[in-house]
């Protein structure tokens, strides 16, 4: 299945999908030293986002997000690609600075068509997402 979207940060990558219907921040929701989610009592607690294609609703939280994204990238602890319903300026700055291929505003609801574990190819330069069901 191929779905069109809007380019946030150019680039191509693929990986296993991690889907969470909520917002994301590089400050507080991903430990740059481990690449894991540190949030207490959260469905993703302890899961690694490294090399994954992460699907979230939007960004939230601190303006320090881009710096934490930069730090995570330096340590190789970033997602391969990201998909959002709609980005906001802090999460956009973070993925642009860390050069993570990212797409938002897909023509179909990503939470309906992408499930945890699906294989997802993101061509953010062309603005295309390709989903292979697991």
């Amino acid at each position: 299945m191929v779905i069109k979207g809007h380019t946030v940060c150019q680039g191509k990558a693929e990986g296993e999908a991690i889907v969470y219907k909520g917002p994301f921040s590089f400050l507080g929701d991903l430990d740059p030293n481990t690449g894991k989610v540190p949030i207490p009592n959260h469905p993703l607690e302890g899961q690694s986002l490294v090399g994954k294609v992460c699907v979230f609703t939007t960004g939230h939280g601190s303006s320090g997000g881009p710096t934490y994204a930069w730090a995570a990238k330096r340590r190789g602890n970033i997602p391969a690609a990201m998909i959002f319903l709609e980005v906001e300026p802090i999460i956009a700055t973070a993925v642009i600075a860390a050069e993570i291929p990212t797409i938002d505003k897909l023509e179909r609801d990503p939470f309906e068509v992408i499930k945890n574990g699906d294989r997802v190819k993101v061509d953010a330069t062309a603005g295309i997402v390709e989903v292979t069901k697991c």
């Binding site: 380019t7 949030i39 939007t58 303006s63 710096t67 300026p89 642009i96």
Partner: protein, 420 residues
């Protein structure tokens, strides 16, 4: 996007590689959000510490002093050393790194304000001023409480604005984008007479979490004579759980004399908040077992003169078992010291800091304090509670400032479930 000749020259590298890199980031950001052009900033508020030094050095290289730049709280490593938290070679490394950045800031004539509440120092924007700002609490406060034009922005893009003097013309800069998308109604029966900053912060945190993305909120039903500190506690908690950067409060904030003034059409979303939602929010923000409190952190965002006066009156004549950090700008502390408000706090063992209390309290962070870091902390706002639990692996108690000070005195949490 359209660029003026001087902006194009920056992008083409005529002002050096650093300015080019900065303009490149701003152009990519603007294009992502459909900005048609750049706009000159009246003021930039950015940050030094914590930024990747390679990025900071690269972007500021060759830059010249531009429009006014103020600074967010960062590290205060000499003070940390003085109070015995960060010591030895570790302290020296922090001091060296901090001073390297200060040198660059001084060369560029940036004002070393180091507070997340510039408005308390007299840096108050006029309605309509264009500001590129780091610190989501600064963004939402200046937008909502003063009517400045401030977008949600990340730290790296505000450094880029500080060296280029521009920001993409998009989002909340455009008059048509300042109306409310989301209407918040408050259920009857909430007793605001009992409410403190903690209560108001939980309200903002709950709403921020319910709103999807970069939308504006209007809250109808709060007391019209809301004191500054309480109005601030409401607005600054929204972008912690969410991305809301403009919060109108009917009868309180300048763009919302009436509900109709900020709701041009039917709201996209209506949220009703009552006691049940607030109780759940407070429960989620309390992340602890047992009742031992080793540390109390107040001042996220930095305290006002009135808040410090109140804390002083609560502590007067008592001694503290737990450590107490109070975040405030240097100028605010100087005035409260002159008034005698700080004396009971400092005599009891409390410490004033101008660093970030929410994400970077040096008593809690193992990055700063190593093995001296505390394992439990109490605070009076949703913002600090959220970040302390997520970034510093510490047990968090959230209560009123009265309950926090009691805990600082006894070393135990005796706070009760709040009444809403």
């Amino acid at each position: 996007m359209f660029l003026r000749d001087e902006e194009k020259a920056m992008l083409d590298g005529h002002q050096g590689h650093g300015v080019q890199k900065a303009m490149d980031l701003l152009v990519k950001l603007g294009e992502c959000f459909g900005a048609e052009r750049m706009v000159k900033v009246n003021w930039t508020h950015t940050i030094l510490d914590g930024l990747p030094y390679d990025f900071f050095q690269a972007v500021t290289e060759g830059a010249k002093p531009g429009p006014r730049v103020t600074l967010h709280p960062g590290w205060q490593p000499e003070k940390w050393k003085e109070i015995g938290l960060t010591t030895g070679p570790r302290a020296d490394i922090f001091i060296e790194r901090h001073n390297q950045r200060l040198e660059i800031a001084k060369r560029l004539k940036w004002n070393i304000t180091e507070t997340c509440a510039e408005y308390l120092l007299g840096y108050i924007p006029k309605k309509g001023d264009v500001i590129a700002m780091t610190g989501t609490c600064m963004q939402v406060a200046n937008n909502s409480l003063y009517g400045a034009l401030v977008n949600r922005a990340g730290d790296l893009s505000t450094v880029a604005s500080a060296v280029t003097g521009v920001t993409p013309y998009m989002g909340l800069m455009l008059p048509q984008n300042r109306y409310a998308h989301v209407l918040v109604k408050l259920e009857k029966g909430l007793d605001f007479n009992n409410w403190r900053e903690m209560h108001y912060s939980c309200l903002g945190y709950f709403i921020g979490n319910q709103v999807l993305g970069y939308k504006n909120v209007v809250i109808d039903g709060l007391p019209r004579n809301l004191p500054f500190e309480y109005a601030r506690a409401v607005v600054i908690s929204h972008p912690v759980s969410g991305a809301v950067t403009l919060v109108h409060i009917v009868g309180v904030t300048p763009e919302a004399p009436t509900l109709e003034a900020v709701l041009s059409r039917k709201p996209e979303q209506t949220i009703v908040v009552g006691k049940r939602e607030l109780k759940r929010t407070w429960e989620e923000l309390n992340v602890h077992e047992g009742d031992v409190v080793e540390h109390v952190a107040i001042g996220c965002p930095h305290c006002s003169i009135e808040e410090i006066r109140h804390l002083g009156s609560l502590i007067k004549g008592r001694k503290l078992k737990a450590s107490l950090a109070i975040g405030a700008g240097n100028e605010v502390v100087a005035k409260t010291r002159e008034m005698g408000y700080t004396q009971p706090i400092e005599e009891a063992g409390g410490v004033f800091l101008n660093c970030c209390i929410g994400v970077g309290d040096p008593f809690i962070s193992t990055y700063y304090a190593a093995e001296k870091a505390v394992k439990s902390s109490a605070t009076n706002g949703a913002r600090a509670a959220h970040y302390q639990a997520r970034t510093m692996d510490v047990a968090v108690f959230l209560g009123t400032e009265e309950e926090c000070i009691e805990a600082a005195v006894t070393g135990k949490w005796e706070g009760r479930e709040p009444e809403w």
